[in-house]
């Protein structure tokens, strides 16, 4: 253990992805990270490996291969069936110290955000959380800056290591983008926000070619200080606007047929894994409960996606939702103020537009 020297970058090779499973099921972030890791591995000319911990999870390997993994290290043990910080950290640090990857990526799920910092501290290396862009080539990084920032890229001094990982992440609630490098220690670790990286197409040939490498687990009782008593799956029936990633909100524009309007909103919300909100006018009319009201006198929400159906967009409503990352508005009145804050606007009758949107969403 004490022989692990992490200050010699030349001793580290390969891009690794932590492949999270829950109840024997792989997470979508695994495939996103493998797709992204594939590009990094190709740019570096190295192998892309997955690391899979669990109990009887070997069978999942081809799936991981199909998204780009050349090899998957599998660590199996009944103690690894459910995630615990202690057991996973111990097993991962053992294999990292042994195999020495140069880059180690973890999905920024609840589990990943818990695991990443713990491993980084134990390995004494740098970790960047919640990354939205990862690049190794300095040339590619410059291209990325030119297309996403106002920086004078060509006029800047560049003395960063080529092939070192440039990890870009939003800071201060997304008001600042920071690119962070980890030049002196290895592995370079980052957690990556789910949904940010594009998933590649599943490739059967690669799935067949993926190597499985069983790695022995060494855990003793003193390593395990946490015990999972029970895993509970919460039924998601209660509407909670706060913290919802997607909100489909209805306004007085559904008055032509409130029930149909609400059903449409619910269908759209279901298709996007979101919840239904409302403007005060819709709440006052008695169509929706008061706990679903968005606005100055309702809830202030900041979802990734806010869809406003038949909402005129009075300032009292806008105050509760204008910080949403993306706003889509459907309104039959082209001069409705909601269009001033919408990223995408559709001027039309929501009773015609929304069913078509739902069609597209459910048959994608």
């Amino acid at each position: 253990m004490s022989t692990f020297v992490n200050t010699d970058p030349s001793a580290f090779h390969g891009v690794w992805v932590f492949c999270e499973q829950r109840g024997g099921e792989l997470m979508p972030t695994d495939f996103e990270l493998l797709s992204e890791g594939r590009k990094l591995a190709d740019d570096l000319g190295v192998e892309l490996c997955g690391v899979l911990l669990g109990d009887n999870v070997e069978g999942l390997v081809p799936q991981l291969g199909g998204y780009g993994a050349d090899r998957v290290y599998v660590c199996q043990d009944p103690a690894l069936k459910d995630y615990t910080t202690d057991a996973y950290t111990k097993v991962i640090c053992d294999i990292v110290m042994d195999k020495k990857p140069e880059i180690f990526l973890i999905g920024a799920t609840n589990i990943g955000r818990d695991l990443g910092p713990r491993c980084a501290a134990r390995l004494h290396t740098g970790l960047t959380a919640d990354c939205t862009s990862l690049v190794v080539d300095t040339a590619k990084y410059k291209e990325f800056l030119k297309s996403t920032s106002t920086l004078d890229v060509d006029g800047m001094k560049w003395d960063m290591e080529d092939k070192g990982l440039k990890m870009t992440r939003p800071a201060f609630c997304g008001h600042l983008m920071a690119t962070i490098i980890c030049p002196r220690f290895r592995p370079q670790m980052s957690t990556v926000r789910p949904g940010v990286m594009k998933c590649a197409e599943f490739d059967q040939a690669k799935a067949d070619a993926c190597k499985t490498e069983l790695y022995p687990v060494s855990l003793c009782d003193s390593d395990l200080r946490t015990k999972v008593l029970e895993v509970v799956k919460e039924a998601k029936d209660t509407v909670d606007l706060i913290g919802a990633e997607v909100i489909v909100a209805v306004g007085y524009g559904i008055s032509k047929d409130p029930q149909v309007g609400l059903d449409l909103a619910q269908k759209m919300a279901d298709a996007l894994g979101g919840v239904v909100g409302a403007s005060r006018a819709a709440v006052d009319a008695g169509w929706v409960g008061a706990d679903q009201q968005v606005g100055q006198t309702g809830k202030t929400v900041r979802p990734s996606l806010y869809i406003a159906l038949g909402i005129s967009g009075a300032i009292q409503h806008k105050a509760g939702m204008e910080d949403s990352e993306c706003i889509i508005a459907v309104n039959s009145n082209s001069s409705a103020p909601i269009f001033e804050v919408a990223d995408y606007g559709i001027c039309g009758d929501l009773f015609q537009v929304v069913p078509e949107m739902i069609d597209v969403l459910t048959n994608k």
């Binding site: 007085y252 008055s255 006018a281 006052d284 009319a285 005129s312 009075a314 300032i315 009292q316 009145n333 001069s335 103020p337």
Partner: protein
């Protein structure tokens, strides 16, 4: 200002009416339910209060602005919310109609309103257009013999019980700001007209205020009020009268507060004597009375000058509302202070006055709007 015998008689009538008819039981009911009281409305109509300022040929009493101000003041002295019952028809309701309505429109709408048979309200404010009425988004599009109205009005006093509303809508979208706006008389029973939930307000409870929603409402062109595209400029000329009424209301509320403060200061004993005998309290009362009297004289003289066609009337009406509204809040604050802890309890009248007073610097043009009008007049 010395009131004529006629005006003195009127003041006596208004005062007696308020003192006998605005019972504590009625006021408590208004406060608790927030609902409009039709009985007192009918009684006011029977006495002709709904049409005090409306000419006799249109069913009113033909009184002048001073009579109207006296009525609002005396009513507000007992019940600020009931003063609004008699105010709307005399000011913003019938005002625009009398100012620029056709003979036919006056006959059709003003008469029943003056007699208290119908309720007519004023619908200008929108969620995004308060002080800046130029931000009006409600639209009216000509379609044959009709205009099709779409939009949402907010904080419309009396909307839930109204029979008609004077609605402002953009008829010429090419013109910016307050230009290109027209006035319409909208029958509240027309298809497509609905009201929002009555707002829960801090004060003046008992005169429901709600949104007014217009969805493809077809209004006949005979209900276009005044010139097309020039409704707003016309409306501004009628607002003076309403402002004067609100200034009178503020004077009334302040007088009611002073009445209560004096009564309490004489009764309440601390350190072995009535608190009125302490200079701190007695000076407060002196200041309150002085401010009220200054505001009252400003309101009365403005009413007379307005009726006499004084070119300064617009500025004076704004001054009256600005000074009386702010004064009324200072007085209400002191009245509660004089009552001490008891002034914070709903059983004591000043608590309600204090809440009612707050709106007087806000509606019918905030104090800041009045300052804009006054300074605009002075800095031409």
């Amino acid at each position: 200002m010395i009131l004529s015998e006629k005006h003195q008689m009127m003041r006596k009538l208004y005062r007696q009416f308020a003192q006998t008819e605005f019972t504590d039981e009625l006021l408590d009911r208004l406060e608790e339910t927030g609902e409009f009281d039709w009985d007192i409305h009918k009684l006011m109509a029977k006495y002709g209060f709904m049409g005090v300022k409306i000419p006799v040929e249109y069913g009113g009493q033909g009184g002048d602005s001073l009579a109207y101000a006296l009525m609002i003041e005396e009513f507000a002295r007992v019940s600020p919310v009931l003063s609004i019952y008699a105010n709307t028809s005399n000011s913003l309701g019938a005002g625009p109609l009398l100012f620029c309505g056709t003979e036919e429109q006056k006959r059709k709408y003003v008469e029943p309103v003056a007699k208290g048979e119908k309720i007519l309200v004023f619908a200008l404010t929108e969620p995004g257009a308060g002080t800046d009425a130029g931000g009006t988004l409600t639209t009216a599009v000509a379609d044959g013999d009709y205009f099709v109205l779409n939009g949402r009005k907010t904080f419309i006093s009396g909307a839930p019980m109204a029979d008609y509303a004077v609605v402002y809508a953009k008829t010429d979208p090419t013109q910016r700001g307050s230009r290109g706006i027209s006035m319409f008389i909208v029958d509240m029973k027309l298809p497509g007209v609905s009201c929002g939930k009555p707002e829960a307000k801090m004060g003046i409870k008992g005169y429901p205020t709600s949104d007014l929603i217009l969805e493809n409402v077809r209004v006949h062109k005979s209900d276009l009020l005044g010139p097309l595209h020039k409704g707003f400029a016309t409306a501004m000329k009628t607002l003076d009268g309403g402002r004067l009424g609100m200034a009178a209301q503020a004077v009334g509320i302040a007088q009611g507060c002073l009445d209560e403060a004096i009564k309490y200061a004489k009764e309440r004993k601390q350190f072995g004597k009535p608190i009125a005998s302490f200079q701190g309290i007695s000076f407060m009362i002196a200041d309150m009375a002085t401010e009220i009297e200054a505001a009252r004289q400003l309101v009365y003289s403005t009413a007379v000058r307005k009726d006499a066609g004084d070119p300064e009337a617009s500025k004076l009406c704004a001054m009256s509302k600005l000074f009386a509204g702010e004064m009324c809040n200072r007085v209400a604050y002191k009245a509660v202070q004089i009552h001490g802890g008891y002034g914070y309890i709903k059983e004591y009248k000043v608590e309600r006055f204090y809440r009612d007073a707050r709106i007087t610097t806000i509606y019918e043009g905030t104090s800041q709007v009045q300052q804009m009008v006054i300074s605009g007049n002075l800095l031409k």
